[in-house]
């Protein structure tokens, strides 16, 4: 599945843009502040139903305008897919192949998309929630059951936390607590299972990409860390058992504090250099940057493996902080099999644009072929 054509109306600094894309590598070039990131944001808004920069749709609307509209035409052999989203901030219209849906959620998962932006350094440097967000966004695209389990888990978790708050105030109904605890364990165990499985699978890929791109040539591995001294055993029944025990151990404390202390909502993905050293603490700036990119590229492989087709790959400004050697390595990694849209200020980073590449120039919200 690749994006053949996109129509943009009043989105960020674009007034009208109708762009044809190549099925392989598209290089979006232009000076700072011309609209490169905005273009990638438009594409990912169509395929994920959300922006990687903001949760507020009004920021996406071109200033002084009343509504924005995006339409993407995707092709896959002889099948085609039409995604549309438009809003005047009061009303939202989402259409998939012309069929109207109520929410932007309907857009998600139809064209799997991996995005890298310079902000992704936060996945490495930020708190555990950044790494959980990373896992959740891509696991929801890699495994068809993940999103439902994820939503169910959080619903059960909020229910249980509300109940625990009442416990803190002295109310006690242990049967009711047990029911919600079981729900949390049931759904939460599945999340942990998916995440363990995924981390085991992507870890070698992360290492490979990291090795190729970083100077230091240290090993990099991912390790999924469960809260509450749970042993990470990759078997759904074992996880349930472990989760149950972990919650039991913290029961008194949970009732005192009024919320759930153990589970996937508090877990972390640890990244270790040479099996031992936390990248967050010991990694150089350069290592941390390449690691962030390696994490994303590994998700391309995971999605390819589970879905049988590569996702759309959006790379915002990947080159800006790499030296020439690493730029060359990255260029080698880009393959024509995966449709890629890559933004850059320096077109000369792409020395010999072959037939696999299509160059698009961006200048104050206008795109030139």
């Amino acid at each position: 599945m690749y994006l053949e054509k996109i129509k943009i109306r009043n989105f960020r600094n674009y007034c009208t843009a109708d762009v044809l894309l190549a099925p392989h590598i598209n290089v979006l070039y232009g000076n700072n502040g011309q609209g490169k990131t905005n273009f990638l944001e438009a594409v990912s808004f169509l395929t994920l139903g959300s922006s990687f920069r903001t949760k507020r749709d009004e920021e996406l609307l071109k200033r002084e305008e009343k509504g924005f509209y995006l339409k993407g035409e995707f092709l896959d052999n002889d099948e085609s897919l039409l995604l549309e989203v438009g809003t005047d901030l009061n009303r939202l219209v989402v259409k998939v192949n012309g069929v109207v849906y109520k929410s932007k959620r309907a857009l998600f998962g139809r064209v799997r998309t991996v995005i890298f932006t310079p902000d992704d350094l936060q996945i490495i440097k930020g708190g555990p929630e950044k790494r959980r967000e990373y896992l959740d966004l891509y696991l929801a695209q890699a495994y068809s059951g993940y999103r439902k389990v994820f939503l169910d888990f959080y619903r059960a978790l909020y229910q249980r936390n509300s109940l625990l708050k009442k416990f803190r105030e002295g109310f006690r109904d242990f049967t009711e607590l047990e029911i919600w605890t079981n729900k949390v364990i049931e759904e939460g165990s599945r999340i942990i299972y998916y995440r363990l499985k995924a981390v085991e699978e992507i870890s070698p890929w992360i290492n490979r990409y990291h090795q190729l791109m970083s100077k230091e040539k240290e090993d990099l591995h991912g390790l999924y860390i469960c809260t509450g001294e749970m042993r990470p055993i990759m078997d759904i029944d074992c996880i349930k058992e472990e989760y149950k025990k972990a919650i039991f151990r913290r029961k008194i404390e949970e009732m005192r504090r009024g919320y759930t202390l153990v589970g996937p909502h508090r877990d972390d993905l640890q990244l270790l250099l040479n099996q031992k050293w936390d990248l967050r603490v010991y990694g150089s700036q350069g290592q941390q940057r390449t690691a962030a990119l390696a994490l994303k590229l590994a998700m391309v492989d995971l999605i390819k493996r589970t879905q049988g087709v590569p996702p759309l790959l959006l790379l915002d400004d990947v080159f800006s902080e790499f030296d020439n050697e690493r730029k060359k390595e990255l260029l080698r990694l880009l393959t024509a099999g995966t449709q890629t849209i890559i933004s850059t200020t320096e077109l000369r980073d792409f020395p010999n644009l072959g037939s696999e590449f299509k160059a698009l120039r961006v200048e104050s919200g206008v795109i030139f072929d």
Binding site: S144, K148, R160, K166, F171, T175, K183
Partner: protein, 199 residues
Amino acid sequence: MNYYPKPMSKLIKELSKLPGIGPKTAQRLAFYLFESSRDEVLKLASAMVEAKESLKFCDLCGHLTQDSPCQLCRDQSRDQQTLCVVEEPKDVIALEKTREFRGKYHVLHGALSPLEGIGPEDLTISKLLQRLQTGEIREVILACDPDMEGEATALYLARIIKPMQIKVTRLARGLPIGGDLEYIDEVTLSKAIEGRQEI
């Protein structure tokens, strides 16, 4: 809203308090009522007042009724040993329409949802337990909604009813009739496989 004369804006305000009615629909309804004949408007108003004043919940089962106990509770020809527990009066209507079930009902008036502050004490659970204590009922069918809160409610009830030596069952979760297997979501499908029956 104060672009309108006061009675109009008042009507719009009241209408928009109704569930599922936004300000735009409220406006449309208000104009519709204004343009209707006085008779029509009175008919509607009196239907609302009459419904409000003559309807109540049955003291026994919690179903909507004019007289308590309700007709369903009084009907001796119904199976007195089977009790079907539902969340809302509209569920009773839905089950009655099928004509499959000939036992008695119990309406909970909701489902457990700590998030919304709904606990066991907010449902008609103690009344249900009282009814079960008489010993007449042999089987309780839990017919809560198939969502997370409904399921939690069913599990909760099962937990407290089972020790009373009463058989507890719940509705089979099947596939929608006329549905194409291919288009049924994974959860429904896996639940259907879980609850498969011998034929």
